[in-house]
Amino acid sequence: MKNQTEKSNFEKILEEGKFAVTCEIGPPKGAEIEEIRAAAEELRNVADGINVTDLQSSVMRLGSLTTCHLLKDWGLDPIFQVTCRDRNRLALQSDLLSACVMGIRNVLALTGDYTTTGDHPQAEPVFDLDSVQLLWAIKNLEEGKDLAGNELTQKPSFFKGAVVNPGADTEAAFELQIIKMKKKIDQGAQFFQTQAIFDAEVFKKFLERVRKENINVPILAGIILLKSEKMANYMNKFVPGVFVPEPLVKKMEGTQDKVSMCIEIASGLIEEVRPYCAGVHIQALGWEKHIPAIVKNFR
């Protein structure tokens, strides 16, 4: 077994208090991996950790665990995203043990989008555990027990993350995000990546509240690269929990050079939030090759 108790690169960066950059790879729909290999190469010198999405948007694809294993083989530090949508507690615990054996240390626990948002709306939504319970399950495994209380032959060890939405738009939704964030920390979350933010003020207000609650877990601000006004409108309409303000949509509309505007918007947002958080999580959605230009602006 690979030595999985050793700290990951991403974990060390956060521990040393360096401004962390994580990026994201979405596995392909099919058995061809050249595209993600190329994306991974673009990220090699800019990302401290690379999230691998778990059937993102409820679309059937190559698996997160296998893709994490590939990244590891290519000398990169993967962050294994695990959602509760497709697996019950047996399969979730089993996949976590598999990750451990493959030397994958970073795990991000999520609820997962609902099945009807994806390309198999007929599929049964599992949600046997929720994201807080998934973190609890990981904690149990680390203590050498499965959820039924049975002993494991060897304990795994993970660097555990979770997600929070700073832009929840009703009182109930916002308060529930804070309450759930604290529950996640109680169950072992060691870092947070946020849902995509497009408004630095919303993020700062969220952080003010987080400080008031004495939450000191490192938070990475989520940044999605905006490729076009069409994409912004699409996300506003169809992507749960993401909202692009009108001025940014207008900015995209008003330019021919979408790439430069994309870099400008992302860099501007990062510049604004940088003093307040532990790092950024950049989701490029195919534009990985433009991330170095953004990172160069602050590193």
Binding site: C84, R85, R89, T111, G112, D113, Y114, T116, T117, P125, F127, D128, L129, D130, S131, V132, Q133, W136, L147, V163, V164, N165, A168, D169, T170, E171, A172, A173, E175, L176, Q177, I179, K180, K182, K183, D186, Q187, Q195, P240, G241, F243
Partner: protein, 225 residues
């Protein structure tokens, strides 16, 4: 008929741990048929609670608790006793607990687990839905069932998919957790949300073959040829 079974007494005492004054409310509908309700059950529960040092501010039976209009009509004589109590211990199916919570704006502890709808769902006519999961946690969720009000069956709070209080699955559907939050806020019990709820015990969801039969099982199985 809705079939229910008693929650273990230990579980009830944990639920009532921090409370002194309790009102007992029983459904005179299906629970009597399932032997989980009726005047004798309510009286012996009162005695048990008093032996544990609790003050029972009142006991009442209403048939049927799934009828919100009936609760409103019948509850008036005991409103002071209910106001005087910190919570209500409810002997009914999950729908009765939900409708009681909604009408009385008070934490309602389910005293029973709902096992199965044996054919007819009481006289229920409202929007409440019970999953007959056999592991009722309605007192932790403001009397709104997280298993039927939230498509993801989340137990520890909303996901990030809600928008303006609506669910990511359908802009017409209320976010179940938005409703749970508002209900607990109305009860002045938001602190309940800080409690970690462990995963549901799905081994309880499958009723025993005897309980799973319909009310008409004898006729169903009669050999006529």
């Amino acid at each position: 008929m809705v079939l229910t079974e008693f929650k273990p007494v230990e579980e009830l005492l944990i639920k009532l741990k921090d409370e002194k004054k309790i009102f007992i409310l029983g459904c005179g509908g299906c629970t009597e048929g399932a032997n989980t309700g009726g005047k004798a059950v309510l009286a012996s529960t009162k005695e048990k609670l008093e032996n544990e040092g609790k003050i029972v501010t009142g006991v009442m039976e209403i048939d049927f608790l799934c009828q919100k209009a009936l609760i409103r009509a019948r509850i008036k004589p005991v409103l002071d006793e209910i106001k005087n109590a910190e919570s209500i211990l409810v002997f009914s199916c999950g729908i009765g607990v939900q409708s009681t919570s909604a009408v009385l704006v008070k934490v309602c502890h389910p005293a029973l687990n709902t096992i199965t709808f044996g054919g007819i769902t009481g006289t229920w006519q409202g929007t409440e839905r019970c999953d007959t999961c056999g592991d009722c946690i309605l007192d932790y969720t403001g009397g709104i069932c997280p298993y039927t009000a939230c498509p993801k069956k989340l137990e520890n709070g909303a996901c990030a998919g809600q928008s303006n209080g609506k669910c990511e699955t359908d802009p017409e559907r209320d976010c179940g957790w938005e409703l749970i939050y508002k209900s607990l806020k109305k009860m002045n019990k938001l602190d309940i949300l800080n409690k970690f709820i462990p995963p549901r015990d799905y081994s309880k969801i499958l009723p025993s073959p005897a309980l799973g039969k319909t009310r008409l099982w004898a006729l169903d199985e009669e050999e006529i040829i």
